[in-house]
Assembly symmetry: C2
Homo-oligomer: 278 residues x 2
Amino acid sequence: MTKKQLIMEKSIELFASQGFDATSVQQITEHCGISKGAFYLSFKSKDELILALIDHFMMETVSSIDCLVTNANDKEKLLYDFYYLCFDSVNQHSESALIFIKEQTHHLNDKLISKMHYYNQLIEKSILSIIEYVYGDTAQYTKYDLVYCIQGFIKTYMELFFFYNLPADFDTLCKSLVEKTNVLARHTTIPFLSQNLIEMIKQPLNTGIAKEQIIQMIEQDIDEIEESIEKESLILLKEELKEPSLNRALIKGLLENIRHQVQCKSTYYVLRSYFDFD
Amino acid sequence: MTKKQLIMEKSIELFASQGFDATSVQQITEHCGISKGAFYLSFKSKDELILALIDHFMMETVSSIDCLVTNANDKEKLLYDFYYLCFDSVNQHSESALIFIKEQTHHLNDKLISKMHYYNQLIEKSILSIIEYVYGDTAQYTKYDLVYCIQGFIKTYMELFFFYNLPADFDTLCKSLVEKTNVLARHTTIPFLSQNLIEMIKQPLNTGIAKEQIIQMIEQDIDEIEESIEKESLILLKEELKEPSLNRALIKGLLENIRHQVQCKSTYYVLRSYFDFD
DNA sequence: TATAATAATGACTAATTGGTCACGTGTCAA
DNA sequence: TTGACACGTGACCAATTAGTCATTATTATA
């Protein structure tokens, strides 16, 4: 494990329990058993650390969702799987999720805002795909509202698990939510969110994940993987990022090579989005 | 206006735009045109200030809702009115609401947590009343889920207004939400939240509003009101709080006296809850 | 006007913070 | 053994903070 990873893992615990502002770099380094100087060898600043944490968590989440939606083949199950994935992944990374929730509204700086915006839009896009796939024209006029209702369900029930340690019967919960969603999709007639409103919201869809960062992701994967076609593909993709030279077919091929490599699932979906193979 | 009120009003602006941690007492006093010492004459600490702000905002909100529910007489309109009130009051006190949202998850200290818990429970109780009143047995088994769905709707659409400055067509929004709620109430069959789960959550329903604070509210009302039966009733109620001596009928009478005095609407509902006249 | 009481001031303190940097320490190849 | 190099250290710095308190200004009272 690199020092960077160590710092990230250990700092998650502190940030989750005390919040970002209330955790000093001193505390982090003590908790890692390293010196203050060593911290600044891995991260340029404290802000860079939390940005990295949030990126890591959101990248994972977003790409899992993306993966689910892209490979969907069962209309009945997709929505259930989606809900389950949301609760399950937040449950498994509850500390990261807590940081995310805590700092989301705290707008440390502009970078964080646009990051959040970016990830939110990705998730909304996925939810919309699900709705269009599952309900088709049935929800034609109310689909944007449905997106927000689904997010509302998730957010509200999520908090229940965060604030009170409810026994996590995710199966019942998700079945219950699927039913609610079905009912809304089939019986609501009064939309609030129109295409127009949605367009207004979408405007500042700028800053995605920086190329730099994707390169870092790839490098991390390369470190973790043994000599193989997959590894070589990753190396070539990294080169392509640094200096584009291959045509789209070759890139697509390289992506296919790493598609089923579990370790780099996130990377695959991030790259897929970066090279615009949606 | 007392110095305390001045500080509260001015600090809301700063907290809303920068957050609590990022706003120094220095800044607040400069923005008020007073000295640092003067600040500490009104508030024992910076924490006490934000606690007061959140109390003020939540007391107002909760009592408006309580008022609406208590005086309901039109099943068709109640839910609409409730939604409208929520959006409208948050819209009108958007800065306070923003502070509330920002600091809600930041758990400054235990006092804040239990305060939030307390207010949340009051609101949930009101929503449950609405559901029971509007749907009766129809939503018998899913009413607790409905409470959380309603909260989810509000939270999610609220954020839309906060993060993007959407044109606020609250009327359409509320009609749309009422329809969604109706649909859920009539067609859902799979509950997730049972009576049992709800009981688990309710456990730490301790610390309400401190008696001290209610007294301060009353004193503020007394200052603002001219000589009248209402003023005298307030004075007597204040005495009763400090040293209980009257029987419940008399107290109830005093409460009735101030019931329709607009300036002390919050106080009325807080007192009603304190003396347990629900 | 004189005196007491209250309100308000702002320089000050003590503590904490994020971030730096001159100085080890261990590990290579030559 | 030497020297080069990266890795790592923790004392230190400048800036900022919440909160205090001796002093001054203002007001009310006699």
